[in-house]
């Protein structure tokens, strides 16, 4: 297990001050700082379904579900998918409304190499929840 993975697993925000450990993940760090500010994401609620081994990094199926009543007062506002070792860590941002019914997405993403994929949900009151999964990639997915 790489040192960076341990840090990220310990909590995305907790890893932010440790700049040296994330030297090659500067964009991810800045991105998370912008999204989270001073808040540390909580564990739970976010479930990522992604293969542990992806033969083709060009198209890796992923499903994310966030547990939420999805009411006007309490719903998932945003879900960010991040791939920490891609040329650019942003994958997609999904914006839900109470009329979404569920906070669920299924899609296919590119992974440049084996890495940890993060899902960060921001609730309607601003509370962040995060989860991550390690994916082994056999053939890289950015055609570079």
């Amino acid at each position: 297990v790489r040192r960076r993975d341990v840090l990220l697993a310990a909590g995305l925000a907790a890893a932010l001050p440790l700049r040296s450990a994330l030297a090659d993940g500067e964009r991810l760090r800045l991105l998370l700082a912008g999204l989270l500010g001073e808040r540390a994401p909580r564990e739970g609620r976010v479930v990522i379904d992604i293969p542990e081994v992806a033969e083709n990094g060009a198209t890796v199926p992923i499903e994310v579900t966030v547990a939420s009543p999805m009411t006007e007062a309490d719903h998932v506002r945003e879900l960010h998918l991040l791939a920490e070792r891609n040329p650019s860590p942003e994958v997609a941002v999904y914006r839900f409304t109470p009329r979404s019914g569920r906070a669920f997405v299924a899609t296919r993403i590119r992974l440049a190499e084996s890495q940890r994929v993060h899902a960060l949900a921001i609730m309607s009151d601003g509370t962040p929840f995060a989860a991550s999964r390690e994916v082994q990639v056999t053939v890289n997915g950015c055609g570079g």
């Binding site: 791939a83 999904y94 409304t97 009329r99 979404s100 299924a106 899609t107 950015c142």
Partner: protein
């Protein structure tokens, strides 16, 4: 403007209040800007930047995409069947075009 093939799958009927799944697909290359052609020239980035789903006049779900979304992007999500109406999805291409697809849902 070339027409890009796309698919929108919405249940034809639903019971009011039911959470329905919407499945979408568009035949778009999602060029990352990192690839080179046969002659070694870089292929410029060309992607769908934004995805929006309207249920009649209201936005019920939207997304911002980056080059890490795979080519021929597939996206499934849900919405609450509120009333008989039209569900429209729009893919906003960074070449300025907007590709749309609509389906009618009958809610009882």
């Amino acid at each position: 403007m070339t027409t890009i093939q796309r698919r929108l799958r919405v249940p034809a009927t639903a019971v009011q209040g039911e959470v329905i799944e919407i499945r979408t697909l568009i035949a778009h290359p999602m060029e990352t800007g990192l690839r080179h052609d046969e002659d070694g020239r870089p292929v410029p980035e060309h992607i769908i930047r934004r995805f929006v789903c309207h249920y009649d006049a209201e936005v019920v779900f939207s997304a911002d995409w980056h080059p890490a979304v795979s080519a021929y992007p597939y996206l499934a999500f849900t919405t609450v069947a509120t009333e008989t109406g039209v569900i429209t999805v729009a893919w906003h291409d960074d070449d300025g075009s907007v590709h749309t697809e609509s389906a009618t849902i009958t809610v009882t």
